[in-house]
Amino acid sequence: MWEYTEKLKEHFFNPRNVGEIKNPDGVGEVGSLACGDALKLTFKLDENGKIKDAKFKTFGCASAIATSSVLTEMIKGKTIDEAAKVTNKDIADYLGGLPEQKMHCSVMGREALEAAIENYQTGGRKKHELEGKVVCNCFGVTEKEIERVITENDLTTVEQVTNYCKAGGGCGGCKGEIEKIIEKVQGDKAKAAAVLAHPKVGKLTNIKKIQLVQQTINEQIRPALRAHGGNIELIDVEGNKVIVAFRGMCAQCMMTEFTLKDVVEAKLKEFVSDSILVEEQGDSTKLPHNHRG
């Protein structure tokens, strides 16, 4: 059960400004059915350039609906410049706080507002679109967006980033990259918060090496593959040669996007030893496939 503030519940049960303005001055849309929440914001200006009316339509949980409702209340009477300064934190604060895992609802509100302002200013796109490099493919979150939530909310951990913008909340394959972005933005602050997974050891016994290879596969490689219906199995370790087999959908991924072998090898070199070489087991197609279909 979520610990929602009374104010949030009040806005959920009695949302203000529901609907769509006809002939609006600005329209902003974010999210999708697949993501689990979506918001369409419309506003109209008065003769002095202040927001006279704002309306919303939201698909989502109680906190998504309540944040949309307060957003419309907050921006009414503001000029475009003033409205543009509203951050996700302002929205959350207005509600008396949001559960940490629901902070992404406030970010969705801010994104819709931005899209609507941009639509007003340029007459251009109404949809919040992806700009720059996409880091989280599951939820379509860009590097720019991740940097922004880190800066505006002073985030230091991957878990926080997931709570604020969903990045990393699907397959988890981008968590390493998010960690690097946090380090880039926050510098030493992030280093203090982050725990190094496993520092590379100098001399490895065979047993230690096998354990480290298995651990790296478990923690660094498998989660990303699994999300796409694939899997990897450690077959054997001979000296520095690591023999693996790919299962399920991975064979297809290998042919299209990137060579999994390279990714696996790079990770093992990074976490185990620079001299690791990866080989795919020759006859893997005849072995049972996990996660078929």
Binding site: W2, K9, F12, F13, P15, V18, E29, L33, A34, G36, D37, A38, L39, K40, K57, T58, F59, G60, C61, A62, S63, A64, I65, Q101, K102, F139, T162, K166, G169, G170, Q214, N218, R222, N231, E233, L234, P288, N290, H291, R292, G293
Partner: protein, 385 residues
Amino acid sequence: MKTIYFDNNATTKVADEVLEEMKPFFCELYGNPSSMHTFGGQTGIKIRHARERVAALLGCEPTEIIFTAGGTESDNTAIMGTLMAMPNKRKIITTRVEHPAVLTVCRELENHGYTVVELPVDKQGQLDLAELENQIDDDTALVTIMYANNETGVVFPIEKIAEMVAGKGVVFHTDAVQAIGKIPLSLSKSNIDLLSISGHKLHAPKGVGALYVKKGTRLSPLMLGGHQEAGRRAGTENVPGIIGLGKACELAAENIEAENSKVKFLRDKLENAILEKCPDCRLNGDKQNRLPNTTNISLEYIEGEAILLMLDKYGICASSGSACASGSLEPSHVLRAMGVPFTAAHGSIRFSLSRYSAEEEVDYTIEKMPEIVNKLRKLSPFVVK
């Protein structure tokens, strides 16, 4: 405000009769069953009676019952215990729709070098038995497949599966936590080797469960320590819990008819009314092979947690497979495995009834549901009018 409890697959009310039987075992008969004195030893006799009652419900021998701390421990013991007893075999077959108490264990074992096959399900939530048969090989240590699904209520043809698995000489475990007390089941002529049950799903308290271990099945203990449960599960017995589970099993046997007539009637009434009164909704799961108490319905364009909160305002307790309701960002793994579109999975809602559910409660919910759905759809940007 009166609470209308339609979340019995999550947990159930402790039956009054169960509580009555448990009461003396807290402050009066608090002895340790292992003690030599009469004061402690007499509780050992009560545990024996409880074991007989559980065995009677399952149609097995009392010696085939191990008491545990609940469904999760029973599942963990069955899976890990079987693998430990069979160190030369490295493959486990399960399904994509298992409860986390099974699925998480299997995925962790994968990290220890085991091969885990997660069988897919079709749109109805049913398995392809030929696919299961193909997957069983000489390296397979265990097949673990749930009896009935907690989210959709879909019942698998477990006896048929057990027979096939036994024919291949592989150990078969089933998580029957949701099935016990809801559908008739007898282990007397069954090929099931291991079966998990949980107390709090059948009107016994939380913190107690049992694992059926067919005579002759090799199983290493998970909990080590004292000699309790014939060395198969160490730790001083949860005496009141075990007494409660015994009584709950006796009551379940008495009520199994009502479960399949009265409870089923109420579930059908609720389900049919919602499907009829709320446009753009769909039933999730195999309508024919299903628990009598469960219904899982998806409502398009709206989100499950919002529905739950609206219901909560009227005192109605239900559950949802939406991402927000679970605290994760992705909707139910069960609905996704069934190919339910994301949109419908986010708007799914589960009602699970019990023998304590009343027709007025169903009628009240039928009255409120269309109102709630309409209210949320008015907010939804995906509803175009």
